[in-house]
């Protein structure tokens, strides 16, 4: 079976908002690719375009120009509904503010992408996932009954539930204390190893960046740095 070397391929990505005098170019001609199993951190000052980039990689927004291929599929050649289906199967999201569905319990939140696909979840895998996340005794709890760290672990679980091609995390530790932040980061790294996931993480935290396989640096909407293990590419 053919598998592309690179699970993410961004080519000439640009995104602008507004018109004429109010024109803001959030992203200018960004191209890069990420092979499977890599743990990538995107860093940059606020307003540098890193969130916009992440949203475009996840198919949440539409680029003004350029293309994104995930697992060989041109994301923006798909129709909106196809893109939603693609998202639940191939992309896992983790947000800074957890964004769990308040009416669903831990297990249901984690299984949500599968349920949306009208699919019976692989019970053994879900259990393994929940245990790995340390939520074994919180299975039936509602998000409002969990601490911030626990909620973010549920969000990680949701992102991994469908064994997606990529996991995109937007400041996943931003709302957590350092111990919980540490834990979340370890789990993400574990996911890369155990489930052979590709993880793209946005962070201000240079400590997190330091633990990444690769760091992409953004400034004024441009990709200004790309280093692996501290080595500039």
């Amino acid at each position: 079976m053919y598998r592309p070397m690179n699970v993410i391929e961004a080519a000439g990505l640009s995104k602008s908002y507004g018109k004429d005098s109010t024109l803001v170019e959030a992203l200018r001609n960004v191209s890069f690719s990420i092979p499977q199993g890599e743990f990538v951190a995107i860093v940059g000052a606020s307003g540098s375009g890193k969130s916009t980039l992440l949203h475009l990689l996840g198919g949440l927004d539409r680029p003004t120009g350029g293309s994104v291929r995930i697992d060989g599929e041109d994301l923006y050649a798909l129709k909106e509904s196809q893109r939603a289906v693609f998202r639940r199967r191939k992309i896992g999201f983790i947000f800074q503010s957890y964004n769990l569905i308040p009416v669903l319990n831990v297990e249901e939140n984690i299984m949500l992408p599968l349920l949306l696909d009208h699919r019976q979840p692989d019970k053994a895998y879900v259990r393994e996932l929940i245990d790995t996340l340390g939520l074994g005794d919180r299975r039936k709890h509602l998000p409002s009954e969990l601490s911030g760290g626990q909620q973010q672990r549920v969000a990680i679980g949701r992102a991994l539930a469908y064994r997606p091609a990529i996991v995109l995390a937007d400041e996943p530790t931003g709302n957590l204390d350092s111990a919980n932040g540490r834990e979340v980061l370890e789990l993400l790294k574990l996911a890369v190893r155990q489930f052979h996931q590709t993880v793209v993480i946005i962070s201000h935290d240079m400590n997190i960046a330091a633990e990444a396989d690769r760091v992409l640096r953004m400034q004024d909407g441009r990709l200004v740095g790309d280093s692996r293990g501290g080595v500039v590419q």
């Binding site: 949203h55 939603a84 289906v85 998202r87 503010s97 009416v103 319990n105």
Partner: protein, 851 residues
């Protein structure tokens, strides 16, 4: 910006759409309340005017009065005005008509139902006013300024000069007895020797508690004392005040429901406005706004909205009503059959509506204001997650929605996610549906009471043969039909004529009914010895008055829909000599102070009834079999008090009357008149012309024209419908606003959540399905409780109505179905707007939504 309070106006300006929606909600509610109140009060005012027009302005009356009694009244401290009328002697006119001239004092003329068409009232002996139609029958057909020789009450003739013409009265026309008045001097009234023709009438001074003093006036002459019951009832001055209490309860419930739904509409609008701005309120708190100031801002917003909505509502309510009435008048309608309906604006109704509207707004703003004031400043600056603290409830109740896949499953959880939110949403829908059902039910019942839907209201012309002429030379043989088949056929051939029903004059009869066949309920309510008792063939019987009526084939056709048992087939009835009966009656039950609808007897098809066409002393007994039972007589709008309808064909009655001497059955089964019904929408003018020509040829035929009256009746029905459906339309609008507001609130507050769902891969169509299911399910839940409450309150109103008019409770099925379908439809449609908005916005925007 002169102060922090100006923030309120700025928020409202920013949220134009919602502001307009809320103002419209307030406007509609205030309009509805003021229009309902004004319409109700105007109807009452006009009913008073109309009652005075029909019955006279007197409050008490003595049908037989002595000069002393009259004098007592005239000098009584409580009496405003007392007048006397002396009944006249009939003056025979052409074609069997006659005219009765009464004498009346000046006050007597004011208190009696005397209505000038032209000219003036008599002010001297020798002057007279005469009814218009009767004037045409006087020799030489005089007019104002002319002379007529009429009989005085003492029987002597006198020539009067005619100074005025009176309006025609229907009853007088039907009986062929016109009325006329001449003047009676007060002194002369007092001086006359006592005679039974003198009657006295009086009104009380303003402010007198009439009902408290009635017994005292009754004592003056108990056997001839009488009140203008209808007028006193309308003025709230009856010994039995249940009518007014009923009206207050009914209008109170309706207005209460309108107020509740107003509160729900406004509460929802405020709630969403406050929830959406929680972060702003939090920020205001961080820069030093006190909770009281935040409350103030919300109340100030409410006040601003009321400032626009309340006056606009009053203008729209009263103005709209005025416009509708003006348009109806301009289109040639008589408003609700009142001659010259006047719309009276009462300050207390307008002020009351304004106060009620304002209170509703403030009450509705109270909870959101409290919510705004309770926001913690730290929540605003922390900027994490939802600033609105919701408590989520674990749902254990199984719901049918769960069968509908993940979307249904999530919808069911979302609906019950927050107890208070769920209650408020359900509450608004329930109130709307309840209001609709109750109003629809009430309007329907009121319509039933007010509208004559019997076949009788289709009769446009009556042709009667005057009795005296036809009787001549017919004393001995059987009486011939006074209209031959050829005449009937001629009339039937006139274009526009739909039915011709025969009129007959059957002799009176009573039924000797075995006591066992009388209904227990009737005897228990009306008294065991309500009917005279006797025995027949050794069996105890009650003597029940019979209402004998002959139905020709045309009439029997109309009876078919009312048949509850047996047959109404003329051939079968004639063949077996059987009759149709109506045993349902509606007497006033004194012990319960109301009319009650019940069976008088418990006869069954096949039973035999004994009819007495003679007197009790000299009975002429006949037997008839019950061939069929009707629920109501098709040509009588109301049920009888305590008589049994006995309807038979010509052959049946001919057999029954055989051998009965002429004096007991003067006219036998002879056809004596025709009721002519026109097709719907047929032009009456050519029919009238043709009938007039026929009547002119035969001096014994009298033609009576009901077209005008019928037209008024139909207009009345149409107008009732316009008002009812107008009010229902406004109620439906308020209800829709309510549902739209609540369902949309629920969606718009969850945009971020929808963003997340989309981010994790929910497609727009799945989202749409989930939201639509939520909207519809709220409709279902609201409909369920709304039905229960609506039907319950309808039943309560029915109990009130039942105090006045005994009617059976009819399940408000139409209102229930309409409102539920409507609620579901609106629930379904109201989610479409927010969904479109969500579909248009990018997921990223939704994720940034603050809520």
């Amino acid at each position: 910006m002169n102060g922090y309070g100006a923030l309120a106006g700025k928020y409202l300006k920013q949220q134009k759409r919602r502001t307009v929606l809320t103002v419209v909600g307030i406007l509609l509610s205030v309009a509805l309340i003021s229009a309902l109140g004004t319409m109700g009060q105007s109807m009452k005012d006009n009913m008073v005017d109309q009652t005075i027009y029909n019955n006279g302005a007197y409050e008490i009356r003595y049908t037989v009065a002595t000069p002393e009694l009259l004098q007592t009244l005239q000098h009584h401290a409580l009496i405003e005005k007392a007048g006397a009328i002396r009944k006249g002697e009939a003056t025979p006119l052409a074609k069997g008509y006659s005219l009765e001239l009464a004498q009346a004092t000046t006050a007597g003329l004011e208190l009696a139902p005397v209505h000038l068409l032209k000219g003036r009232l008599p002010a001297a002996d020798g002057e007279a006013v005469i009814e218009e139609w009767a004037l045409a029958q006087l020799p030489g057909t005089p007019t104002i300024g002319g002379k007529a020789e009429l009989a005085r009450p003492d029987g002597t003739k006198q020539t009067y000069s005619i100074v005025g013409i009176l309006n025609n009265q229907r009853n007088n026309m039907t009986y062929g007895m016109g009325s006329a008045y001449t003047w009676l001097d007060d002194e002369a009234a007092l001086a006359t020797v006592p005679d039974t023709r003198l009657s006295a009438a009086a009104t009380f001074k303003k402010g007198v508690d009439i009902s408290a003093h009635l017994p005292e006036f009754e004592q003056l002459s108990p056997e001839s004392f009488d009140t203008n019951t209808q007028l006193l009832a309308l003025k709230g001055e009856t010994a039995d005040k249940s009518l007014n209490k009923t009206l207050i309860v009914i209008f109170g419930v309706l207005i209460g429901l309108v107020v509740l739904s107003t509160i729900a509409v406004i509460y929802n609008a405020f709630n969403i406005a406050v929830l959406e701005r929680m972060r702003h309120f939090g920020l205001l708190r961080t820069i030093g706004a006190t909770p009281g100031q935040l409350r103030g801002i919300v109340f100030r917003e409410a006040g601003l909205l009321a400032l626009y909505g309340v006056p606009a509502g009053l203008i729209v309510g009263c103005g709209g009503l005025w416009l509708v009435l003006e348009a109806m008048s301009a289109a040639g309608f008589n408003i609700l059959t009142f001659d010259g309906f006047k719309l009276t604006l009462h300050v207390w109704i307008i002020a009351g509506s304004a106060v009620v509207g304002l209170l509703a707004v403030m009450l509705a703003a109270w909870l959101p204001a409290r919510k705004a004031s309770r926001v913690a400043p730290v929540d605003a600056v922390r900027g994490t997650g939802s600033i609105v603290r919701e408590t989520y409830k674990r749902v254990r109740l199984p719901s049918l929605l769960r069968l509908l896949g993940i979307e249904g499953n999530m919808a069911s959880k979302n609906i019950r996610r927050n107890r208070s939110k769920f209650r408020i949403t359900a509450f608004s829908i329930v109130v709307s549906i309840t209001l609709f059902i109750v109003f629809h039910y009430f309007a329907q019942e009121a319509f039933k009471v007010a509208v004559d839907d019997s076949r009788d209201d289709q009769v446009a012309f009556q042709m009667l043969s005057s009795f005296t002429q036809a009787e001549q030379g017919q004393r001995d043989g059987p009486v011939q039909d006074l209209f031959d088949a050829a005449t009937v056929a001629d009339i039937a051939a006139i274009p526009g004529v739909e039915h011709i029903y025969g009129r007959y004059n059957l002799p009176e009869a009573s039924i000797y009914l075995p006591t066992a066949k009388l209904s227990r309920e009737f005897l228990e309510k009306m008294g065991e010895d309500f009917f005279l008792k006797s025995t027949l063939g050794g069996q105890e019987i009650g003597i029940v008055p019979a209402y004998t009526t002959l139905y020709d084939e045309e009439r029997l056709k109309q009876a078919q829909p009312y048949l509850v048992a047996g047959t109404a087939d003329p051939a079968k009835l004639s063949e077996t000599g059987a009759v149709l009966i109506v045993q349902k009656v509606k007497p006033i039950v004194f012990s319960e102070k109301k009319k009650i609808n019940m069976n008088l007897s418990e006869l069954k098809v096949g039973d035999t009834i004994a009819l007495n066409f003679g007197t009790q002393e000299k009975p002429v007994m006949r037997e008839a079999r019950v061939g069929g039972i009707l629920s109501q007589a098709p040509f009588t709008p109301t049920l009888l008090d305590s008589e049994l309808y006995v309807i038979g064909t010509k052959q049946t009655y001919a057999a029954l009357l055989k051998g009965i001497p002429f004096d007991e059955a003067s006219y036998g089964t002879a056809l004596r008149g025709l009721d002519i019904a026109l097709a719907d929408g047929a032009d009456a003018a050519p029919v009238r012309q043709a009938l007039q020509a026929m009547a002119a040829q035969d001096p014994s035929i009298r033609l009576i024209d009901f077209v005008e009256e019928q037209r008024e009746q139909r207009q009345f029905n149409l107008q009732m419908k316009i008002f009812i459906y107008g009010f229902l339309g406004v109620i439906a609008l308020i209800g829709s606003l309510n549902i739209i507001n609540t369902v949309q609130t629920n969606l718009m507050l969850r945009r971020r959540e929808f963003g997340v769902l989309q981010a994790v891969g929910m497609t727009m169509s799945q989202l749409r399905r989930m939201a639509t299911l939520e909207g519809v399910w709220f409709g279902v839940i609201g409909a369920f409780w709304g039905l229960l409450l609506g039907i319950g309150i309808s039943f309560l109103l029915y109990r009130q109505l039942n105090n006045v008019e005994g009617i059976p409770f009819s399940f408000p099925i139409a209102g229930a179905v309409i409102s539920c379908v409507f609620a579901l439809g609106v629930g379904l449609l109201s989610v479409q707007g927010p969904l479109r908005k969500i579909a248009k916005a990018s997921v990223v925007e939704e994720l940034r939504e603050e809520a």
